[in-house]
Amino acid sequence: MKKFCYVILAIAYAVMFIGFVGAYNAANGADVSANGVIAEARVINLPVDQAKWYVSVVGDTKNARYQEILGWFSTNKNLVTLKNQVHYCPVKSSDSIYGARYAKNVKSLPTVRVQTSDGTVVYEAAGRSIPMSAEGLNGAIANSIRPILPWRRNHVHPKPCPNPGPDIDINVDPDPQPLDDEGAPAPDGTNGPATALAIALSILLGAGVGGAKQWKKTYKV
């Protein structure tokens, strides 16, 4: 009789355990069968990129100029950075989507277009109006973006020297990162003196308070 009771008790514990695990899984949305469909949560971290801008590079694949411009987005450091910060859309004129969404609103081919997430065009150049170098294109895009991003308006840019010597950085616009609009903008270098002053004041204040405390402690004032 005693053995029988133990068996019943063991079965009861097992049932309770199974029920607990089932409830836990249900609460967490895992492995709950719903008419043969296994209920599961999302499988990857969903990119929160609603605010990302778009860069479209549109052209004919047989056109050497289009290929050159596409290449810039793989070889020029600043344009690669830009490409990685936005939705980058290379569009061939032979693609169906070209006829449906680009053919009637591009002036000529190739075209480089930068848009905000809501479709507002902040930079567009087509055909001969596209700068001749990757650096030029990068600078043109940066110049178009600067006026609409408040923290870039007062950014001071180094001017290229007419006869640059070996020590001069000829990268006219070394930090075109205005498209990173998904977080707080990085402070520009123009705030450097203010930051240094704040740090120095903090150190002096801390030293003063600490010194005063130590003085009181030592001499029991």
Binding site: S96, I97, A100, G119
Partner: protein, 183 residues
Amino acid sequence: MKRVILSAVAVMLFAGCSDSYFTTNENTERPLVNIPRVLRQSNWLSRGSGSCVHASMMSLFRWQGRNNTARLWGQRYGSGEDAQGLRAKMDANGIRYAYVTNGDVNFLEWACSTRRGCGITVRGGVHMVALVHLDSEWACLLDNNSVSKFIWVPRETLIAEWKASYGWAVTPVYTPAAPLPAK
């Protein structure tokens, strides 16, 4: 008087003939996932069954710039599909994708706000369509059984329908087509 009447008739005739499809007056395209007609995949019969899941995925692949993937998908797959089967095929082809089968509306919000769209189950789970817009009032569907038009339904109606249909939603995760230029 004759001139006035003729002008009025002309205005009526040409109303709605603007190029609004090619540029937008507002800064938001509607639907957000404005898949052009030429990119929409119609449902097809395969082994006696419809291929709505695959058709929805093909439209979304094309919208997200994956034309080759869409073409290969259509050549390789067809017929009815469930969440596990689709997941296996996505994994086998190295597709970047996301899905839920728990009716989480946040997933629909995410898919539409990022302009990717997603396939969702309807009609008690026997059919999949593409969700191409979801805002505070309205949802918009692209049904692969009738790809010539978008179908607008109240948001709550769509969510109720989806949740009553296993709450399965799935989408590729690539770059959506750029918005039309806003005027």
